[in-house]
């Protein structure tokens, strides 16, 4: 087996892990499996692409549209990503206001909210296809040559950047959740929302913060996936099973667990592609999910947030 599987797995796992963190936060604080999370990734990518399209011409006119250093994109993408994150957050908060929030206030069972998220997921996906068509889109068409990174492995600068960005985001989020007062509030609501209110915490505010973090990370994961592969309306739906497998493998509510789960799923996919065949790639997340549910349902770090 080529050592290349290691870096391939880490690259794929970065996107999966980042997406799984949003999923695990939503699950532990809002207490439902959010099927729309994959579509937040896709919407994040498309919204960023749209802003990038507007900005591209503007920046080229200013003479700063060329690719940045060894990367395949210019300043337009990072700036568009920030706008894309903000727009994805608005989309998510809007969906919570018109759908999930209403159901929560009515005291709907978790299964009702899950089914609502399943329906919203289909609607969001169809809307993407309607607006942007099913044809794949790209942030950049620059060609990148994979460079040697040691131990017989190769990676493009864009791939290395996504791994580095993921590491920074995960560490920052972990510090935020464990050290800040907002993070403490999130952990408190995750453990016992009723008691959190008694302690004086505004649970609705914590829920909004959770949506904001989850949506922003989903957008970053979607853009990373779009940058390294391509952007399609179904990209989020295709990632949904690996995202759930990573979140459950890591232990629902655990941020480091979701990231580690993502890396394990990514590595398992890379090994499967090399050893068994690319057509089995999608199946491996399902196998891991079933094994975890049978052998260790609480996951690797089975605690809330």
């Amino acid at each position: 087996m080529s050592p290349q599987v290691l870096i391939d797995g880490i690259i794929a796992g970065s996107t999966i892990g980042l997406g799984a963190i949003g999923l695990t936060l939503t699950y532990s604080i809002l207490r439902f499996a959010n099927f729309t999370h994959g579509d937040f990734l896709a919407w994040g990518a498309y919204l960023t692409l749209t802003v990038s399209g507007f900005l591209g011409g503007l920046l080229a006119g200013l003479g700063i549209g060329d690719p940045l250093g060894p990367f395949s994109f210019g300043w337009g993408l990072p700036v568009s990503l920030l706008a894309g994150m903000a727009l994805t957050v608005l989309l998510t908060l809007g969906l919570d206001k018109v759908l999930f929030g209403r159901l929560r206030r009515r005291g709907a069972d978790a299964i009702i909210i899950v089914m609502a998220s399943f329906g919203a997921s289909m609607a969001l996906r169809s809307l993407l296809e309607f607006i942007f068509t099913a044809n794949p889109a790209y942030f950049t068409r620059e060609l990148q040559i994979a460079q040697k990174i040691g131990m017989g492995m190769r990676a493009t600068p864009d791939q290395m950047l996504t791994v580095g960005l993921t590491a920074v985001l995960v560490i920052a989020l972990h510090v935020f959740v464990t050290r800040s007062s907002t993070g403490r509030a999130m952990r408190a609501v995750s453990e016992n929302p009723g008691l959190a209110g008694v302690y004086g915490l505004d649970v609705q505010q914590v829920i909004r913060v959770t949506w904001i973090i989850g949506a922003a990370l989903a957008c970053v994961a979607g853009v990373m996936s779009g940058l390294l592969v391509q952007i399609r309306p179904y990209m989020g739906f295709d990632l949904l099973l690996p995202l759930f497998a990573a979140a459950i493998l890591g232990g629902i509510g655990s941020i480091p667990g979701a990231m580690l789960g993502g890396l394990i799923i990514g590595l398992a996919e890379a090994v499967t592609v090399q050893v068994v065949g690319a057509e089995w790639r999608a199946g491996v997340a399902f196998v891991v999910l079933v094994l975890v549910l049978i052998l260790r349902p609480s996951g690797l770090f089975g605690r809330r947030v």
């Binding site: 007062s181 403490r184 952990r187 009723g194 008691l195 209110g197 302690y199 004086g200 505004d202 649970v203």
Partner: protein, 243 residues
């Protein structure tokens, strides 16, 4: 003027099925009141409804001049109503210090450190190991932490739901010693308690609920011999209000 005022107060989990029915009650600042009654009388429902945990179905509740009927529990905590639930009253997956820090967020920044220090001084058992996970504490220590957390915000009124439930006799003694300390500090106290003797010793006024209705309201002294209480609990004497 009373600090906590209930008028024609009804509460319950289902709209057409009130558990607490038409209760009128006034609690003055600095007063300690225990709420007694047989199982299923609606004692816990009453205080949970005051604390925003159960829906008020009719009537009103005021804290000083503010109408707090059906206010969300976080708003009540900010307004100065401290509530300690019977179970699950601390965050077990967080440390003692983190539990205190969350509560301290309600205070102005400048007061947080001093107030936490004051409460840690009041509860040396907690001060000795602030970084211990709250889930690792004994039953009595958990109740101590729950009370400390509630007191941290300097509530105008502190409401406790059966603080000694499920504890060994030794730990019950520990909890009531803590409550005596709180009482001595002049905090207005409302207490639901199954341990009648200890509750009567701690408080100066008792309210007895039977079948969700107020059956007695008066000084604890008249209940000490157990005769009146027995009659009220067994149902041979109803709706007597002792002035």
């Amino acid at each position: 003027m009373s600090l906590l005022r209930l008028r024609d107060f009804s509460a319950g989990y289902e709209t057409d099925l009130p558990i607490v029915k038409h209760v009128d009650m006034d609690i003055s600042r600095g007063e300690a009141v225990c709420i007694l009654g047989p199982n299923g009388a609606g004692k816990s429902t009453l205080i949970k409804a005051i604390a925003g945990q159960v829906r008020c179905l009719g009537g009103s509740v005021h804290l000083a001049d503010d109408d707090i009927t059906n206010a969300p529990s976080h708003a009540l905590a900010r307004r100065g109503l401290g509530f300690v639930p019977q179970t699950e009253n601390i965050f077990t997956q967080m440390t003692i210090r983190e539990n205190m820090q969350i509560a301290a967020e309600l205070l102005p920044k400048a007061r947080r450190a001093d107030q936490m220090q004051r409460l840690f001084d009041m509860f040396p058992d907690l001060k000795a190991r602030p970084n211990t996970l709250a889930g690792a504490l004994s039953g009595g220590q958990r109740q101590m932490l729950a009370a400390a957390r509630a007191l941290l915000t300097v509530p105008e009124v502190l409401i406790l739901d059966e603080p000694s439930a499920g504890l060994s006799p030794k730990l019950v003694g520990q909890v009531f010693e803590t409550l005596r300390q709180i009482r001595a500090a002049g905090v207005t106290l409302v207490l639901v308690e199954q341990n009648v003797r200890a509750a009567l010793d701690l408080t100066e006024r008792a309210v007895v609920l039977v079948d969700g209705r107020l059956a007695h309201d008066g000084p604890t002294d008249v209940l000490r011999d157990g005769k009146l209480l027995g009659e009220l609990f067994l149902g041979s004497r109803h709706a007597e209000v002792v002035a």
